[in-house]
C-alpha cells in the first residue's frame, strides 16, 4: 500500500517562480525523504528530514515536516527549466523490523522557460 500522497498531482509554473509540493502520510515515521525522477529514469534522492526536525534546507530546496498533521512540504525556490521532473515523498513506518520504503504518487512539475 502507498504510504504517502502528494499534491498537487501536476504543477506548471514560470521559470523563476517558487514551486511548493505537499505530501501526507499515514503512520508514524522516523524520517521522510524526497526524491526526484526525470522522465523515464530512476529516482534520485534529494533530501531527508527526521521526525524531530521541523525544517531543513539544501540549496534551493526547503522541506518542512509536521508530524502532528502527518504532512510535509517541498519548496523549490527560483525554479529553473531543469527542475522539470516528478517529485515523490517516501516514508517507512517507524519501529524495528520496518523495511518497506513506500512512495507517494508524485507531483509532476513543469517549469516553463
Amino acid at each position: 500500500s502507498q504510504q504517502g500522497e502528494e499534491d498537487p498531482q501536476a504543477l506548471s509554473i514560470q521559470e523563476g517562480e517558487n514551486a511548493t509540493m505537499n505530501c501526507s502520510y499515514k503512520t508514524s515515521i522516523n524520517n521522510l525523504q524526497w526524491y526526484r525522477q526525470n522522465s523515464g529514469r530512476g529516482l534520485v534522492h534529494l533530501i531527508l528530514i527526521r521526525s524531530n526536525e521541523r525544517e531543513k534546507h539544501s540549496g534551493r530546496l526547503r522541506v518542512t515536516l509536521d508530524t502532528s498533521k502527518k504532512s510535509s512540504s517541498l519548496l523549490i525556490t527560483a525554479s529553473r527549466a531543469a527542475d522539470t521532473a516528478s517529485y515523490f515523498c517516501a516514508t517507512r513506518p517507524a519501529g524495528a523490523g520496518s523495511y518497506q520504503l513506500t512512495f507517494g504518487k508524485g507531483t509532476k512539475l513543469s517549469v516553463i522557460p
Binding site: S1, Q2, N30, N31, Q33, Y35, G40, R41, G42, L43, V44, H45, L48, F88, A90, R92, Y99, Q100, L101, T102, F103, G104, K105, G106, K108
Partner: protein, 111 residues
Amino acid sequence: SQTIHQWPATLVQPVGSPLSLECTVEGTSNPNLYWYRQAAGRGLQLLFYSVGIGQISSEVPQNLSASRPQDRQFILSSKKLLLSDSGFYLCAWESGQPRAFFGQGTRLTVV
C-alpha cells in the same frame, strides 16, 4: 563507489512468456534491495524487498516473484506474463543510511 546495474533497459514480451529482470549492486555489502513497478504517469508500487540472501518479502500478491541468490543480486521473475504486467520496473538499494539508490529502470511492454 557504489553503483547499481539494472537490465535490460527495454523489453517487449508476448503474453504468456517468462520474465527475468536482473539487478546487481556494487561497492556495498548486505544492502536492502527493492523492486518497484511504476505504471505510466503514476507513483511507485513496492513489489518486493529483501534484507538478506534468500529473504524475500512480498508486498502485493501477483503474477511475479523475486529471488536473491547472492548478496548483491536481486532478480524479478514471472513464469507467464500478463498484459497487466506492463510497466516501468525499478530496482533500488540502501545500506546503512535511510537513502535509496535507484537503477535506471526497465520498461516492460507485454503484447
